[in-house]
Symmetry: C2
Subunit: 285 residues, 2 copies
């Protein structure tokens, strides 16, 4: 069984003594309802570090009004079982009263990065992400922290946060884990009906289509984006596309697409908002 | 002699091993050109902690355009001598290339706190203060950090920063140190000519005047502020008053003044901008 902590002060003291024994700490921040994507993060951490800490906390500060904070799936017992299966050493599952005894009035932004894409559709989202991560980093003092490329913009925000504040933690990106049919794993997939899930596959398939055109020589960003949009919109239950963008690896806009650029999109299927992204020039295909 | 470090990585590793020996670290952040106010911070730290670290770094990020970053007084050898006299264990004097290999694009603000008073006259100032302190805290991992009440708003910003991000450092406020004639010590006092220095005493004397009226029963904030403004403006070389405010201890505006409220002001004397503040109901008088 992993050791379960709920109190920041207790886990801080515990990990401080662990670090003084010369052990490295790998940190996997999650909002729980763990899936195989989380398992991959945990496995990578276990390879790199002496000790792996998983946080399970649905952070209210990164949800906007009208978003799914209340309905976000939660099952701590199941999560702890999965952590046990994966050999996680420590689970940190604080309550809101531990993390936000008082709501922070401080705000963090990275102009040009937290206000684009997800940030423009979810104002305040990355502020919440940055603040909870600064708290976790401060409480846990990990040597490495693991982030899925599924949330590509989040990864970029965290890398910039760590660099700009000289935080002593290495951010390790982990490739997106997809289901057998290509759907990117996400705790929010549980919201989808079977029919909606079928339509959600259009995200992955639109990437394959764009990748095919790219390999055939298509370099026009606008044209590739239109192809993706049109393909996705053909599917039932698609309630709207928040954005389909192609950006360079630092999320700067591109006109002429090149290998390594990313397609990023957010699509509403039924009542569920899904995000996904794809690196063009994917060698696995 | 204190041990001198210039490289963040080296001092981080050194202090990490110190902490693992169970020793506590007190941190005194300074921009150098040390005076008796700094000595007081150092002495307080030495009483509370096993080891005292003084940083000496003129942080470019907290200066605005047209401010005195270039002319700010610097004398590292003299500062190190003072640190030696005071028994400082470690001096951290990084270069700009160590602190800002790349300029941060991240921005920190605390609405209602970083955008008032100094923040409204020095836009970006507290962003620079917060970022450099987050870097220092991350590099040094101090148990306690010492801040003079002379920069009262800065103290409040730092306390909020630490609380909102759950940083494991105790912020220790240290009362303002004044010269024999009442002038609050500041490295910027070196800018003043003898005549200007005489006029600068009007800041302290205006506090004494307000304190006298307060003790006599005057509770009207607007009236006390007018008294202070008029008194200061009578003096030669006074080039303008940026603000005279009376706030509660959390810097919220007050109409009816009570004990513990603070007078805060910023005054330009010749080319020098001075700030000072005063706690009403001062028991020493």
């Amino acid at each position: 069984m992993p050791t379960l902590f709920k109190k920041p002060r207790e886990i801080r003291n515990y990990l401080r003594s662990v670090k003084c024994e010369g052990k490295t700490i790998g940190f996997v921040p999650t909002m729980g309802y763990l899936h195989d994507g989380h398992r991959k993060l945990i496995r990578d951490s276990k390879v790199d570090n002496h000790m792996t800490v998983v946080s399970i906390y649905v952070n209210p500060l990164q949800f906007g009004e009208g978003e799914d904070f209340q309905s976000y799936p939660r099952d701590l017992d199941r999560d702890i079982s999965i952590c046990e299966e994966e050999g996680v050493d420590v689970v940190f599952a604080p309550g809101d009263e531990d993390m936000y005894a008082e709501m922070p009035s401080l705000r963090v932004e990275i102009p040009g990065l937290t206000d684009i894409l997800e940030g423009s559709f979810r104002p305040g989202h990355f502020n919440g992400v940055c603040i909870v991560l600064l708290k976790f980093f401060s409480i846990l003092q990990p040597d490495r922290a693991y982030f899925g490329e599924k949330d590509y913009q989040q990864l970029k925000v965290v890398q910039r946060l760590v660099k700009d504040l000289s935080l002593p933690v290495e951010i390790v990106p982990v490739p997106t884990v997809r289901d057998h049919d290509g759907l990117a794993l996400s705790s929010r997939n549980t919201y989808l009906t079977a029919e909606e899930r079928e339509s959600a596959l259009s995200l992955y398939r639109s990437f394959l289509l764009a990748e095919k055109f790219f390999k055939e020589g298509q370099r026009n960003s606008e044209l590739l984006r239109e192809t993706i949009r049109n393909f996705i919109l053909q599917h039932p239950h698609v309630n709207g596309i928040d954005y389909v963008e192609i950006r360079d690896e630092n999320l700067m806009p591109v006109e002429e697409v090149k290998e390594g650029d990313r397609i990023l999109l957010a699509v509403r299927i039924g009542k569920t908002r899904l995000i996904d992204n794809w690196r063009l020039g994917n060698e696995e295909l």
